[in-house]
Symmetry: C2
Subunit: 412 residues, 2 copies
């Protein structure tokens, strides 16, 4: 069946639409219901048959949740992971010493169960802030980890969700020195999504053979261009983390940045990262549309990124998109406050292919055709703000009644 969904996007990469974090060789993933959520899976695990080299990025929120603190300290010891366990529903954030002890206890149980060192285990939580984990349920979950059944990764993909409406996963294959190397990923994230890691958990795996330094370099670059370029509501969470594991089980040659196929491999990781990030933006809380803002020409790469993120983060742009309203003025205004150094007369903006702003002024366009295009589920905004070579793409979603509904009534 997987064969049927393989899709060749170019001669270099094969897309496995049903692939996920367990697609690369040597990884298994699973999940089950332990009673944290009403009925859906809420406890998941990812396991590598050999310790995998690990790169990770964490939230920049000063309130770093307990599991993140424990995981970061563990990874920093050897930069190797054999397992990741995750629970949804409760974030174990703002839980002080007891939260840290709970996270360490989870590590300890998993270590005993799987006969691996504690520091090779990452723990992650997502959900409500400020509640303690019910450790009996976590213990039940650990007892039921099953790393011998390879066909249950869809349970993992579901177990990490909170308000997400669908699972988010992909895998791609590339050929390196006559070996197939696979890169897979699964993520969650729906609200509290903003650049610099939000309530977003991303797990990427590969059976390539890559050292920790190269892996970190690759992950940092990929996350900056993808996960850090999405926004749902501008709120940066306490629990975000993206992990990239490489276990070498494809038996490929060692990949370094000087290897002739490094770019091919890096593109595979970037593709998975971008696919997952887009799927988070598209599934933003209450979202009905994906907004893609492609910006070129700002004075610096950072200013260019900020403009793109400001456009997709603007509540006024988001509500206009929700109402299929070609309100170019709000896009122009968001560019102007995203970067106060732009010169309005240099600015051109296209919305769904129509040139709306020409040299900083309104341009005539076919309103009927544009409004029809805005009914589609992806809204493309393209802004040229100057003549430099900088390019950025940010992803967001519309702001709907349902966003308010979901968030006004989350706890109660």
């Amino acid at each position: 069946m997987l064969e049927e969904t393989k899709q060749l996007i170019d001669s270099e990469m094969t897309i496995l639409n049903e692939g996920d974090v367990a697609s690369p060789q040597g990884f298994v993933a699973g999940g089950l219901h332990v009673g944290l959520r009403r009925e859906k899976n809420d406890f998941g695990w990812l396991y590598s048959s050999v310790p995998a080299n690990c790169a990770a990025v964490y939230t920049q929120n000063a309130f770093k949740a307990a599991p993140l603190q424990v995981t970061e300290a563990s990874i920093n010891l050897e930069h190797k992971l054999s397992a990741v366990v995750i629970n949804s529903a409760i974030a174990n954030a703002c839980t002080g010493e007891r939260g840290l002890e709970d996270a360490k206890q989870t590590q300890n149980w998993v270590a005993s169960k799987l006969h691996i060192p504690e520091h090779e285990i990452a723990v992650a939580s997502t959900g409500l802030i400020g509640e303690f984990l019910p450790m009996d349920k976590i213990s039940f979950g650990v007892d039921n980890i099953n790393i011998y059944n390879e066909s249950q990764s869809e349970n993992f993909n579901e177990a990490i969700l909170t308000t997400d409406t669908n699972t988010k996963h992909i895998a791609v294959e590339v050929e390196i020195d006559n070996k197939i190397v696979t890169v897979g990923g699964t993520c969650k994230g729906s609200g509290m999504i903003h650049p610099n890691m939000a309530t977003m958990l991303g797990f990427m795996t590969t059976d390539a053979n890559v050292g920790v330094d190269d892996l970190n370099y690759l992950l940092k670059g990929s996350v900056d261009d993808t996960f850090n370029m999405i926004t749902v509501d501008g709120d940066t969470s306490t629990n975000d983390m993206v992990i990239l594991l490489a276990n070498g089980e494809s038996k490929s040659t060692m990949l370094t940045q000087s290897h002739p196929d490094w770019e091919k491999f890096a593109n595979a990781v970037k593709y998975v990262s971008e696919y997952l990030a887009k799927s988070i933006a598209r599934d933003g809380e209450g979202a009905t549309k994906l907004i893609k803002a492609h910006v070129t020409g700002a004075q610096t790469k950072e200013q260019n990124n900020i403009i793109a993120k400001t456009i997709v983060g603007s509540s006024l742009v988001k509500t206009a998109v929700h109402g299929c309203d070609p309100n170019f003025g709000r896009i122009a205004a968001s560019i102007g406050y995203g970067d106060q150094t732009v010169n309005p007369s240099d600015i051109n903006v296209w919305l769904c292919g129509h040139l709306l702003v020409k040299n900083g002024m309104i341009n005539e366009y076919d309103e009927l055709d544009l409004k029809a295009k805005m009914e589609q589920d992806t809204i493309d905004i393209h802004a040229v703000v100057g003549d430099t070579e900088h390019q950025s793409t940010a992803y967001g979603c519309d702001l709907s009644y349902d966003y308010v509904k979901i968030n006004a009534l989350y706890r109660t």
Copy 2:
């Protein structure tokens, strides 16, 4: 009647709740319907019988609307104004050369009508971006400016509104050297409201005798602590401006920063400024509640301000307040991403008087009592994030279904 609404807040200041921009001596204001809005007043004027010293602050958006550009250039010539004319419904922003010419034409017409120099006239517009002013309607408005009828300032207060649901105005009196000095103000602003001047027009007047430099110093400080500490939707507009005019018509002695009553006068200006800013936040688009965040103890005043603004700007805090949900986790998270240098264990947060976060951890509270308090129309959040003396107060509003409705359907 005004006497009845006078309210003595302390021995130093008398509040005139029905006062406005025309309360100080020598100022008149008026407005009428010229056909830009469906039926409400949409064209207003403010006139000083003698040229008034003028201080002003403008939006920081790179797209500065045509009337702002023209007004800024005019004020910079002599820092004196005799008149301000305003239209609502159309912002005259992103309108290029023609927009500038329209703003100058308006100035020119007013100069002829009132026999004053063009550069003593400020022009302001608020409303939809990217449309040209219908100059026949503006011309009609100018022809009907009437500076001899002193009792029509309520027409001015209405003429400057867009999606506002009510007029916003106040005046206060202080006694200086045995003379009554009055400070009055009128403002508008409902959406696209964010620190650093949003779609917000603020006009403050006083009959005190104050030089331009002291006036600018006073305005800058007042705006930083009030208008720049409110947020509705995080979007910074192209048209924001706050003006403070002093015409000396109280015949008071010259006020300088070294005058013994300077603080008394400065407090009056600050009071008017704060009252107007709060009234904007409370009347944010779709708002049902005012959110007040008082923060103390960050390392710098700027960090302290950012934390306060981040709390009231967080979509998740705003929706939680809308749902009367004491979701302390979202408040803590917003503090943690507002300032990534805070130490979570130093943080204490009170919501409507209940201590929710104690040393960075959840604290037990009476949920029933707190939920009842959250039904009130002002929600107080108090956060201590460290032990410095810095204090900031920011104002915002909840995020409701109506915000989405208003903004998804604004143009169509």
